[in-house]
């Protein structure tokens, strides 16, 4: 039971931290993709979608190369902050965040696209500059969609396995998430423990998706 609780709270914690890390940038990118056009936009859209379509272990391998001791980012963090990223809880957060980005950005983009451009234009003619329009019109009307995106990203981060296994590994007490725990117990033939973690994981995912659907289903009837 103690291990169950520890793994559950660790998973919730890394998913929450990972989601929080990507929210500002993910929302900003969603807005840019919804409202702006620039050369190379299609490349950015493709790059954002990649973690959705390439095998998670492949994403994990890319992160391993970048954030490993000899990787460009890993060396930077080690030298400037004394941080070891791979095979620590930080790697779990990193994998969760990266794998959650596509869901967050796509949902945020749709949320912003659903805010009628005409409302923003009229707000400008009423004397509001671009930032005032964003915070008083665009963001409030997109808020439910953005929250839904955050919840979906959280759910995705919570269920992450492939990239996490590659970059964080299975280190008891340090990197074991619900998904890694399920895999580990199945490998050892400990189906009961695996199913306990499965039920918790499935229950949390169900609640997250349900919340997300409710948020998406009730929006202002912007006419």
């Amino acid at each position: 039971m103690g291990e169950l609780v520890r793994i559950t709270f660790f998973s919730l914690g890394v998913a929450a931290v990972g989601t929080a890390l990507i929210m500002p940038g993910g929302i900003a990118l969603g807005w840019l993709l919804a409202r702006k056009h620039w050369p190379g936009k299609a490349l950015v859209e493709t790059a954002v979608a990649l973690p959705l379509v390439i095998p998670p272990v492949a994403t994990g391998l890319i992160l391993l190369k970048l954030f490993g001791r000899r990787g460009p980012f890993g060396a930077f963090f080690a030298e400037w902050f004394g941080w070891e990223i791979v095979f620590t809880w930080k790697a779990v957060v990193l994998a969760a965040a990266v794998m959650a980005i596509p869901l967050l950005v796509r949902t945020a983009r749709v949320a912003f696209e659903e805010v009628p451009l005409r409302l923003e234009q009229v707000a400008r003619t009423l004397g509001a500059g671009p930032w005032r329009v964003f915070f008083t019109v665009t963001l409030p009307l997109a808020a439910r969609g953005l929250c839904a995106g955050g919840v979906l990203a959280f759910a995705r981060a919570l269920g992450e396995f492939g990239a996490t296994a590659m970059i964080a590994g299975f280190i008891p007490g340090q990197t074991v998430t619900l998904s890694l725990g399920i895999y580990h117990h199945v490998q050892l033939g400990q189906d009961d423990q695996a199913f306990q973690l499965l039920l918790i994981s499935a229950g949390l995912a169900f609640a997250a998706v349900l919340l997300s659907e409710r948020l998406l289903g009730r929006k202002f009837a912007a006419r």
């Binding site: 009628p116 005409r118 409302l119 234009q121 009229v122 707000a123 400008r124 003619t125 009423l126 004397g127 509001a128 500059g129 008083t136 019109v137 409030p140 009307l141 202002f220 009837a221 912007a222 006419r223």
Partner: protein
């Protein structure tokens, strides 16, 4: 009000708007078929679209001049805009919508000698008969009520010019009859110049000093409504033939 449009070129997809003209009057009408360029022109005057070339000047103020790299952002033009559906903010109450248009500060030079006056919320609410609507949610308003609130909101922003893009087209005849006198009152009592877009020639006859007829992005003709339209047995008015 004097509106100068000089060598204006604006492309939107395959559509191209090309205009050079001067229009004067208290209320100017824009008439033309769908796709003629009426909304594009209105958006250019409001600053919501940037022309590729040309100049737009409202009275003594240049709003955009591409040749001299002049572009005044929409929030500084003092040009109000009421689109067809009113575009009220659905997450605000009626009162909050109205207060959004009340300018906190007035940049210098935006008020014309004849317009841009400041109106109180109480006066506007009474004039447009929306006092009883102030605490309502926007989503609970009828079409006519929405348009009155949209007009009030635009007026409370102290515009030098009010652009009305088919404000009555989505209303039934009853609501239209109730609102049309309010437009005349805005023009006469509140002294706010209007640019009025419509498909209905009879609207121009009742409201406008001059009408500009657009077709496929170009000016077809302009003049007083009585010169541009003639009475017709089948509809109230129709365009006079050019011959």
């Amino acid at each position: 009000m004097k509106l100068v449009i000089d060598s204006l070129v604006l492309s939107a997809g395959r559509f191209r708007l090309e205009l050079s003209l001067t229009l004067e009057g208290r209320a100017i009408g824009l008439f033309g078929d769908s796709g003629a360029g009426k909304t594009t022109l209105v958006e250019a005057i409001a600053g919501l679209r940037r022309p590729h070339t040309g100049r737009i000047q409202l009275d003594d103020r240049v709003l955009v001049d591409r040749a001299h790299d002049v572009y005044i952002a929409p929030e500084h033009r003092g040009v109000g805009y009421v689109p067809q559906d009113g575009a009220l903010f659905p997450h605000f109450s009626v009162q909050q919508n109205l207060q959004y248009g009340c300018r906190q500060t007035q940049p210098s030079g935006l008020r014309s000698s004849s317009g841009g006056a400041s109106f109180s919320l109480a006066a506007i609410a009474e004039a447009l008969d929306i006092e009883r609507l102030l605490d309502r949610r926007v989503t609970a308003l009828s079409g006519g009520e929405r348009q009155r609130v949209a007009l009030a909101r635009a007026l409370l922003a102290s515009p030098r010019l009010l652009l009305l893009d088919e404000p009555l087209s989505s209303l039934d005849a009853g609501h239209k009859e109730a609102i049309f006198p309010l437009l005349q009152r805005i023009r006469d009592d509140f002294n706010v110049p209007l640019v009025y877009v419509s498909h209905a020639p009879e609207d121009f006859v009742a409201l406008c000093d001059r009408v500009l007829v657009l077709s496929q992005g170009k000016a077809l003709r302009s003049g007083p409504p009585t010169e541009v339209f003639e009475a017709s047995p089948s509809v109230s008015y129709r365009l006079k033939s050019l011959s």
